[in-house]
């Protein structure tokens, strides 16, 4: 896969540098690709110090969470619902109300039990390689890490249950980059699993840059979308049952291009453009072909440059005002590959009944201080509780906020 990476400018730069290097003991240097995060970087970007932001592995004390700086529309309120869960990302709720939370670098899956007066957390499993994907179906917890798929049957009643190892049947490919997962069961009871492009920009081999679905036991795999660079969130419209998904745009094409995407999958088998066609029809600068956007399903809307669109959720509760019914909430974790930071918020996306004319508006803000260009937290995923309140996870601060509405 990496050998097919097309990076004309960078390859030239590397070749020039190699002639100055001492003789290598291993002949691998000529074939060595640049690390994924800096593929596609041009010579004039060589002195840039833009780099992915740090996660945090230690628990953030509640007193250090700047709750008062978070802003919501009138009538909405945020409270700190849980803390002490470093790296918290996607959340899945079991039938009895326990909540399971995936992480990346810290390798843990958490379980949170709400006793009514407080939240108690424990670690279900640790030492996994980026176990970001969690889903609950028929009493079983599904955990998908980059190299492992586990199922915990009846875990809410039996906390010590040993997992069933389903790794072989899911046939997870070996490249790690962009292959941490968001997973969810669709209205068809199938498990949807993305396989990101293992690069910033490349022509990946056939097992990457796609969304697949499986039967719950891992059988019946189908690739349902291609040309998907890195989706970290999807959900199904409560009425139309269409799948919508977020997708991260490539880096090192400037501060403002290409924007992240919010896509609508009205049929399976569509091509969403990567690596030739980005955002709303932006041809790639490194990997070129004639008519790069021909046959490509363009996004329903773009979501901002380098915004890092994460989880999305269609609101179906009754606690929020009626105009929020079936409205999409999308978390934007925030940019790194941009001179001035962008995102670090939760937005709503409203569309016409037919899914057209999407309108993106801020909902939860205040994580980014525009003046200092520094961020406090990074909202990543949403989970709706039975009372209609909305949980928002903050990966940076290892916290979960609960959003309520009341006059």
């Amino acid at each position: 896969m990496f050998a097919r990476t097309v990076l004309a400018a960078l390859a030239l730069t590397l070749a020039a540098c190699q002639s100055m290097s001492p003789p290598a003991t291993a002949p691998a240097a000529a074939a060595a690709p640049p690390p994924a995060w800096q593929q596609g970087r041009t010579a004039d970007q060589a002195t840039s110090t833009l780099a992915p932001h740090a996660g945090r592995n230690t628990a953030t004390p509640t007193a250090e969470i700047p709750l008062s700086t978070f802003k919501l529309p009138p009538g909405f309120k945020a409270e700190i619902w849980a803390t002490g869960i470093p790296g918290a990302r996607a959340m899945a709720r079991g039938e009895s109300g326990k909540i399971y939370i995936g992480t990346r670098g810290i390798g843990r899956v958490y379980e949170i039990t709400d006793t009514g007066t407080q939240r108690v957390s424990r670690v279900v499993v640790d030492k996994l390689v980026q176990p970001a994907g969690v889903a609950v179906k028929d009493g079983s917890l599904y955990v998908i890490a980059i190299d492992k798929a586990l199922r915990y049957d009846g875990i809410e009643k039996n906390p010590a249950v040993a997992p069933v190892d389903m790794t072989a049947v899911f046939s997870l490919p070996k490249e790690q980059h962009h292959n941490w997962k968001y997973i969810a069961f669709g209205p068809d009871n199938k498990l949807y699993v993305p396989f990101g492009a293992p690069c910033n920009i490349c022509e990946p081999t056939a097992e990457y840059a796609q969304i697949r679905r499986y039967n719950a036991d891992g059988s019946g795999m189908e690739v349902i979308a291609r040309g998907v660079r890195n989706t970290q969130g999807f959900a199904w419209h409560p009425v139309t049952k269409e799948m919508w998904f977020t997708d991260h745009g490539r880096d090192w094409m400037g501060d403002n291009e290409p924007e992240d995407e919010l896509n609508r999958m009205s049929k399976t088998g569509a091509n969403f453009g990567f690596p030739y066609c980005h955002a709303n029809g932006v041809p790639d600068k490194d990997i070129k072909k004639a008519n790069p956007c021909d046959g490509v399903t363009l996004p329903a809307t773009t979501m901002g440059p380098h915004a890092a669109v994460m989880g999305m959720h269609f609101y179906t509760g009754t606690m929020f005002p009626a105009e929020y019914r079936n409205v999409m909430f999308v978390a934007r974790k925030g940019s790194w590959n941009r001179t001035q930071k962008y995102g670090f918020d939760v937005v709503t996306v409203r569309t016409d009944a037919d899914g057209k004319n999407p309108k993106v508006e801020p909902f939860m803000t205040g994580f980014l201080d525009a003046r200092s260009d520094e961020f406090s937290g990074r909202p990543t995923y949403m989970l709706q509780l039975p009372d209609g309140s909305l949980l928002v996870s903050d990966e940076q601060l290892g916290a979960i906020y609960r959003i309520t509405y009341g006059r």
């Binding site: 690390p35 932001h53 810290i106 843990r108």
Partner: protein
């Protein structure tokens, strides 16, 4: 946090802490690392976290977040460091944060060991070619999760880079591993020589 250990989270815990004066001395104490733990760190990592033992890294002036994150990985066995297991067993996040704050504030001592000028010169070329300064910053002081390289123990740098290049474990940064693809042992030795004696 280890598997099975429960901890109270959420707002209730904060209110309880704020309304209980009894907890105040504990919170103040937690901002300083426990003296016995600090002594255990310095025994190997050197006075003030400036290593005097080859292959043992200096901690002085490392970014706070880098120390915190690595100590969590080592405590939980995501990063296997045999000699650290005993001292890290059961260490709380609060102690880790306090240790990180302490060592981040220590002044790194500039190395006066003899410099192999030619190795260091070649290492400088490789560092520039591989864009090390993007994440480690142009003065190699490190930032956030990215370690300080300037003045780090040379043998440790070689060993650490080889580990990243040849056998990165589950807790290791995949970006760093990929940044060393294709570098030879000689490249790594030159880089280490350059960085161990780097003066801004």
């Amino acid at each position: 946090m280890s598997a099975g250990r429960a901890s109270v989270t959420g707002r209730v815990a904060r209110l309880a802490a704020a309304s209980s004066l009894l907890l105040a001395p504990v919170i103040l104490w937690a901002q300083q690392p426990p003296p016995a733990t600090l002594a255990a760190c310095n025994a190997c990592h050197g006075p003030g976290g400036n290593s005097q033992i080859a292959q043992t890294p200096s901690l002085a002036g490392q970014p706070k977040l880098f120390i915190e994150n690595q100590l969590v990985l080592i405590r939980e066995g995501l990063r296997e460091v045999e000699s650290m297991k005993e001292v890290m067993a059961g260490m709380t996040d609060e102690t880790i944060v306090a240790l990180a704050r302490h060592f981040a504030a220590q002044k790194p001592v500039v190395k006066t060991s003899p410099v192999n000028e030619e190795k260091a010169r070649l290492g400088a070329v490789t560092a520039s070619k591989m864009l090390c300064g993007t994440c480690h910053l142009p003065d190699y002081a490190g930032q956030k999760q990215v370690p300080r390289l300037a003045g780090q123990d040379e043998a440790y740098l070689v060993q650490s880079m080889k580990q990243f290049r040849d056998n990165p474990g589950p807790g290791r940064d995949t970006i760093m591993a990929a940044s060393l693809y294709g570098l030879s042992d000689a490249d790594l030795a030159n880089l280490a020589s350059f960085l161990a004696t780097f003066k801004p």
